[in-house]
Symmetry: C2
Subunit: 222 residues, 2 copies
DNA sequence: ACGCAAACTGATCACAAAGTCAGGATGGTT
DNA sequence: AACCATCCTGACTTTGTGATCAGTTTGCGT
């Protein structure tokens, strides 16, 4: 991967521009400039503007989803709680790269809301994330690290919280700082799983009976 | 309001088109057609396309936020839990009108993420929603209907859940049906407030001491 | 060295869409 | 009736941009 081909440069420029300017803001002349090629070459490699955008989005979604999951998937010594925490971190807009992914993700939401034919794309991405969380939670339950619960439901709720808090931080760190979003999601998940206040320093529940006798916390902390 | 002026028809057409086609998809020729005026008149009433769009969005956001809050605000006999529940219903895309509002809302997210100067607009809308939930929760706590908790934090979490589940249903009823989203948000909130499984048939906590000795539920229901 | 296909370019076309302008209709005031 | 301001229109100009095309360069197989 030392010398990216012109085609790859075009694709990369397209992805960057979609994130920065939005799908509708993409201009092939600008892509050409950014990739240091003539705009005619863009049309040589990609039939039409829409085809280029479709391929760029597909490429980006695929890459983002895989990187997120692959990165956190096979970690030998980590506890289930640790894996969940780092997956949450990798799912919130914690880095510039992830923020870019988020913007594309929101763009997909919007288009899917308007064009039903895009919904399968969005649903598949959701399904992948859901499956990851569901399996991680189920595994933790099976190993006695977490309380008994419905992994599907907890996974859904966690995804919703990630999306909700993620959006909020994306819009402006003023409203909800990233760190607060992180801990809020983690704490809610820890609560669902019967851990303490946090995923990281999780005092494992070991058995549901003990958890069942623990008093409910009166306030979600201050 | 029997005879909407041409200016109003133009504005209404703009709002509708933004929701249907997206901000970038708006064509003033089409707006003119829809409002049964010439496209020159659009430019007569609105300096420029951007000015029209800005006014249309502002109008729509203002209206949506106010309608949502005003509708659920002053209800005489309702319990705090009931008011929360109906506010949740009014905040999820439960009707075609609300779905349209949602699409505009997501569009604002996207733009605010890219253009920091739009963030105050988004943050103000969030602040309004947050304040409503915070106050409603605090009032319920004060009256002993809910458990003691940090209203600010519970409000934030509720908003995050609304956004997260709302998006999910917006994208396709296939993934998460609206009804499941509704109950999921309500159940999570009920849990935070120390109620039973649901907001509607809430068994009031009355005092925090009793709530503190209640066992944590082992599973978020099936 | 030759030939040939793939990669690439500058110039240009075609068209959609925002914005302008000169003037016509309408309704109110004196 | 005469006047004027507001509302409104059809026709036109301008611009930005996606797409095309004729032709040039590059690299590779024989």
């Amino acid at each position: 991967m030392s010398k990216p081909t012109a085609r790859e440069r075009i694709l990369a420029a397209a992805v960057g521009q979609i994130a920065r300017e939005g799908i509708d803001g993409v201009r092939i002349a600008r892509i050409a400039m950014e990739a240091r090629v003539s705009s005619a070459l863009v049309h040589y490699h990609f039939e039409t503007r829409d085809a280029l955008l479709a391929e760029a989005l597909d490429y980006s979604y695929q890459r983002a989803g895989e990187a997120r999951i692959a990165g956190e998937d096979e970690r030998p010594g980590a506890s289930h709680a640790d894996r969940l925490q780092s997956m949450i971190d990798g799912s919130l807009p914690t880095t510039p790269g992830l923020t870019e992914d988020w913007v594309l993700w929101v763009e997909l939401w919007l288009r899917a809301a308007r064009h039903p034919d895009l919904r399968p794309v969005a649903e598949e991405l959701y399904a992948r994330m859901h499956a990851w969380f569901r399996d991680a939670i189920a595994a933790g339950v099976k190993d006695g690290e977490f309380n008994r619960c419905d992994p599907d439901e907890v996974a859904d709720r966690t995804l919703a919280l990630i999306d909700g808090y993620g959006i909020r931080t994306l819009i402006g760190d003023g409203a909800i700082p990233l760190e607060r979003a992180r801990s809020a999601v983690a704490r809610a998940l820890a609560q669902d799983l019967g851990l303490g206040e946090t995923l990281q320093a999780g005092e494992p529940a070991r058995n549901a009976a003990r958890a069942a006798s623990r008093p409910v916390r009166t306030a979600p902390s201050m």
